[in-house]
Symmetry: C2
């Protein structure tokens, strides 16, 4: 209920988040520890995210498929790094149809193994390559510390899997999908991201190289937005995924995988949200425009409601996602607060005077008070709102980018790094050694988020190259982002 106030983000960011997810009815806790129920408002956001990504996947030649949930336990043991990474997180089915199973089955934590197994049957020749697949599903990882959307035992995602004839083609695919995700983050979610390479300690279990997008949340902590893995021939060797090349020689395939999950809903909440609640990025907002009718007398009500319904039809026709709030027994002010909490980008306030003038007052969710108000004639409302949504998108993105840059410091010394990670990201020279990385993590709770591919884009300016590792003082090639992370 909108009457109970959220804690402010400054008071308790974590509680602000937890309460907001429940209050906005994005999700709820399931009876099984660590599982969540995604409620209609949350799922509608996920469906918009899915649509935005799915069209990009299809435009780049990928086809959707469905591999099963149940995987023989022995599969996970075939790739040595994979088994080390995933064994502690497995859920195991031991009973089926009332009988103990001869071989226990695991619930997929990810599908490289079963896909590798099937590819070994389907792929014979270079003519069968590349294989470009994606699937939308849920996976199970037995997480101990969970938080709605950010880390749950079951989560929803897409996992792309591709097989190629050459190393180069697979590397290009890995980077292409990282670019697709970047395009989505920037142009749909309005979230600035840092594309980069993960360290060996942080990479996917079984990958040669893991790329990720890293974003800064409203509490200056880092969140891994998604990942794209170059898997080399690791899974192809473990599952004997081979093809006859054009000269008749049998070769192992080169494979990739890449995924983005319901975690990004957590990112959207934490990047854009304010003390009033959510701010939905307009292009994927479940509701882009809410119309709140204002009236006192029955006569006013009849006239306002009639115009409100016409307006709604007009906005639907313009392909806007619009909701008309006709709830009885709630004041306009209460409804304003409620929709602000739910983050609807544009509110249309429509009273008898507006109807008389054939105009309405528009309020931008991202600009509180007078500053975010615009009056517009009803005839021009669809065009005005479309323009406003573009502006809101850009403004959310700009604000988040400015925030990230303001809270990212170039650090040359370990003392500077320690201070920087208290307040955001440290952008520091690093020698590349896992030992230094481990020590930094142990001493500061900050992890190596990534080595940014475009070092200049992080702060929007040239950064120093070379220099000495912030921890050990040995020569450092690139700068890496360090930060405390979700």
């Amino acid at each position: 209920m909108a009457e109970e106030k959220l804690p402010t983000r400054a008071e308790d960011f974590s509680e602000w988040y937890n309460q907001l997810v429940l209050k906005a009815q994005l999700a709820d806790y399931a009876p099984v520890r660590g599982c969540m129920i995604v409620r209609p408002y949350g799922w509608a956001l996920w469906e918009n995210i899915q649509a935005a990504l799915d069209q990009r996947f299809k435009a780049t030649g990928h086809q959707n498929v469905a591999f099963p949930l149940l995987i023989p336990k022995s599969f996970i043991e075939k790739e040595k790094h994979h088994v080390e990474g995933f064994s502690p997180e497995l859920a195991v089915v031991t009973i089926g149809g009332g009988e103990e199973l001869a071989e226990p089955l695991i619930l997929r934590p990810t599908s490289e193994t079963i896909i590798g197994h099937m590819w070994s049957k389907w792929i014979q020749s270079y003519r069968d390559l590349p294989v470009l697949m994606n699937q939308w599903n849920s996976v199970i990882r037995w997480e101990l510390r969970t938080k709605l959307f950010l880390r749950t035992l079951e989560f929803y995602w897409q996992e792309g899997h591709t097989a190629h004839a050459t190393r180069q083609e697979a590397v290009e695919e890995t980077l292409q999908m990282l670019n697709v995700y970047t395009d989505f983050a920037v142009n749909e979610a309005a979230i600035p991201v840092i594309p980069g390479v993960k360290s060996d300690a942080e990479k996917f279990a079984g990958a040669d190289t893991t790329y990720s997008l890293e974003a800064m949340m409203g509490d200056q902590k880092a969140l891994q937005f998604c990942t794209s893995h170059f898997l080399g021939q690791n899974f192809a060797q473990a599952f004997e995924v081979k093809y006859l090349d054009q000269t008749g020689v049998l070769q192992h395939c080169w494979t990739t995988s890449w995924g983005l999950s319901t975690r990004v809903i957590g990112a959207i909440i934490m990047v854009h949200g304010d003390d009033q609640g959510l701010i939905m990025p307009p292009r994927i907002a479940p509701i882009q425009v809410v119309i709140v009718p204002i009236y006192k007398t029955d006569e006013e009500k009849a006239s306002v409601q009639k115009t409100a319904k016409e307006l709604k039809a007009q906005l639907i026709k313009a392909n806007l996602r619009v909701h008309l709030d006709e709830r009885e027994g709630f004041s306009p002010g209460w409804k304003f607060n409620d929709w602000e909490m739910r983050g609807v980008p544009v509110r249309v306030e429509l009273g008898p005077k507006d109807v008389a003038k054939q105009a309405a007052m528009l309020s931008r969710r991202d600009r509180p008070g007078r500053e975010g108000k615009v009056s517009a004639s009803l005839a021009e409302l669809p065009a005005t709102i479309e323009k406003l949504l573009v502006e809101i998108h850009q403004s959310l993105f700009d604000k988040a980018l400015a925030f990230r840059r303001a809270n990212t410091r170039e650090t040359a010394t370990y003392d500077e790094l320690k201070k920087a990670v208290e307040e955001g990201f440290a952008f520091a020279p690093w020698c590349g050694s896992g030992d230094c990385e481990a020590k930094i993590k142990e001493e500061t709770r900050a992890t190596m988020r990534c080595i940014p591919i475009d070092q200049t884009a992080v702060l929007g300016k040239e950064v120093r190259t070379g220099g000495a590792c912030v921890y050990c003082g040995k020569p450092a090639k690139d700068r890496a982002i360090f930060g405390r992370a979700y």
Copy 2:
């Protein structure tokens, strides 16, 4: 590979089906017994089915959600009929994160129980009703005899769940969704269906009344296309789903559930397919039009390919799902067979003479040989194809309806019924007793499919009412459909 011939349907319908599913690359067997992999061509069909249904669900006010896969085992035991029905089919997780679980978790066989549990928290007053939800997911039932798409251990479906203040509203919802499914079957899948009521023996475990759509396959056997259940207050009582009514009295809700699964892909194959392979119903076909270029010399190739690409772009612009077959090393004749096997409704044959005449030859998949060929000018191709797709849809539906009616017999005696179920459906007076139903099943392997709601629509003519039960001779109110079923 298209070279290996399918068995004919007359030779071995079951083998024709199994081989066709593999050969058309709709699905494949997974390493875990009874599970399947839905391959790109099969999943594209499912996505079109999903889109067609999802827009109908949303148009009738339903919202999508996601409830978790894992359910505490104790939940399933709260509704007595439900536990009896589902206990033998459960998959049980006993180990999570390396530890034995205190309470075993089941993989959802369906979600009434966990949804009931959450509704008891979310629903307080009549203002919260109706609750109209749907989810797209997969469920697990430990089936012993499996067949791709028709009965698998894991299958994909949607499950709708609604809660209402009154019995009448819940009954209306149950029937509304049966109508939505009928609309989908007739207008998207081109499959004639018989909407009706299931017997107590065949109804959903926990339902007061189960409605279904029944269809006749190409081997005259019955297939339950989908179901819609009026659950009364059974789950509301088991999970204490209550609301305060307008007079301040606490009442149990009335609930419904309804589902349609990847089984309908099996129905599409078995209703429309012929000895050459699949015939996809045009409105949900993954590929509606395939263009096969025909050439001999390099010069011809260049000219034909150029026109073929322009044509493809023109058809995409007309919102048609089109594929241009540019594979090298396969003859046009081989490609014709391959796409016939995959059931693409319209084939465009484009050779140098066609390009010269600015025309192309169209072939209808549903009419073999000369009869299904039409020549059309390239300029008019999109319009011609759109018209053709409408005709093909209608023709597939008409043919399937005529087939069902030709193989459904009004039977007044048990001998007639026994003969009728050898060749299709028996439409017979039945007293309503479970004993008669059980005996008929035991002696003829035919089950009571449904009591058709519209008795006239079954054969397209008035049928006798009343009469004596085909088994026991006692008075019968309605006629029921009996048949051997998948």
